[in-house]
Amino acid sequence: MISQPDIAALLITLKLAGTTTLILILLGTPLAWWLATTRSRARSAIEAVIALPLVLPPTVLGFYLLLSFSPDGPIGATTSALGLPSMAFSFWGLVIGSAIYSLPFVVQPLQNSFAGLGRMQLEAAATLGARPLDRFISVVLPLSKMGYLTAAVLGFAHTLGEFGVVLMIGGNIPGETQVLSIAIYDHVEALEYSQAHWLAAGLLLCSFLVLLMIYSANRRFHLMKTT
């Protein structure tokens, strides 16, 4: 059935997806807010950059990340100057890779949600004495619940399924950087189909349930809005 290394892979996967989602929600919020409200010309360029992972093969992203993690690369040079261990083949290297890879899945739902708010309620809040941060917390956040749920679920689920980037920059170190998708690949390579089945079917079911959750929540939300 499920072996010790497989459980380790599962835990690493969940930790990676959780950490990445958390970081993306924190970084994605100001970025999505800026994109939803700015009139700057740079917006289109930034939007295109954020959407790149949607179209690029993950190996391309992984390749450039690997280069930048090398001692001569910008990230590698910085980490070694700070006396930190190299990012390549480490968990935090995976987090950086996943964050970039899943960025559009978090930023786009948030941006759509913010853009759909309209300015009326925010202006009303301002006239009632709420300062910008207060307005964001008391008006924008509660009205963007669905956007946040969608962003978090898509970010999490997309990181779960990641393969190419992880393989390029994380290697395949059991108990450290081996994630589920790679464990499945290894089992198949070794012709251990029944183990591969357990993991693959588990991942399939998980992903389905998670998506089912957002779609039904979305439906309830729309029904609530229209009544």
Binding site: Q121, E123, A124, A125, T127, L128, G129
Partner: protein, 360 residues
Amino acid sequence: MIKANLQLSKSGFKLEANFSVPGRGVTAVFGPSGCGKTTLLRAIAGLEPEATGSLSVNTELWLGANARTPVEERRVGVVFQNPSLFPHLTVEENLLYGRKRLSKVTKPIEKNELIASLEIEKLLLRYPTGLSGGEKQRVALGRALLAEPKLLLMDEPLSALDLNGREKLMLLLEKFLQKIDIPVFYVTHSSEEVARLADNLVLLANGVVTDHGSIQDVLGAVDGDLSRSDTAFSVIQGQIATKQLQGLISVDCGLGIVLQLPDATSMLGVRYQPGSRVRLRIRARDVSLCLEEPQRSSILNILPAVIAQLAEKPYNGSRVVKLDMAGKQLLSKISEYSVQQLGLKQGQPVFAQIKSAALI
């Protein structure tokens, strides 16, 4: 005093608003659709960051050469055209949103009293989504007032309502706006709303303030934009008289002036009780002049008056004549031909025939 000298250019539209009005009472901002009324209101609220110039409200400077009070510090209550209640908060939470953010409640507006006079007690626990348009506007008004604003701005608050809802909210506003001790700016394109609510008037046309002052002064400016337009009208205050003629409502305007109107009930049938104070709106084009008192006329109201002022020049073949009717001001718009034919002059006694007057 509220003094404004505001400039704003926005996507091809230019606003040039220079006026001052008393720092109390209701000031109507009046003009046709698209003349920049809403933009002016937003600039006063501080919601148009590109507005320049100066703005002071009573003792406070909100906008100056180097000073700009951000909107959240202006303490300005706004009731927008479309009610912008917070959908995730109950009516009660909406009402308290601004009040909770006051550093201290200086002039305690009695919360329960306000809620009762806005007739929203029964809605407190509900969410805004299920409320009618009129209910939403009343909650929005309560929310603005509970934050103890120094200036209340209302942007066509009736326009999103149906006829019945409009009449109901109007009745409430009439009672309410006179009672509160805060200056109010009320944007509208309806002369009826102006006549019913306003103490002062700011006229706006194509982004430029063309006249401002007390309602009688602005309405009575015979060469002004408003007098020249089709909407030229006068407002006369009165009281429903106790002695009524059959089928008529008599309005006693004081000093012996009693106007008769056909006895039509108002939409809600509540206002024409004897003794209640009313305002009459009389369109200038519904007032004609005679040199002698007409006899046996179907026109109900024929009153002696004196010509106080004639417009300097005719406009589109008509001339506006300002009449003094025992101290009350009344405008009449008649053809230039008649002015010449009758030889009308300032100071001349005439009889004003009022074809119709609206009890509003």
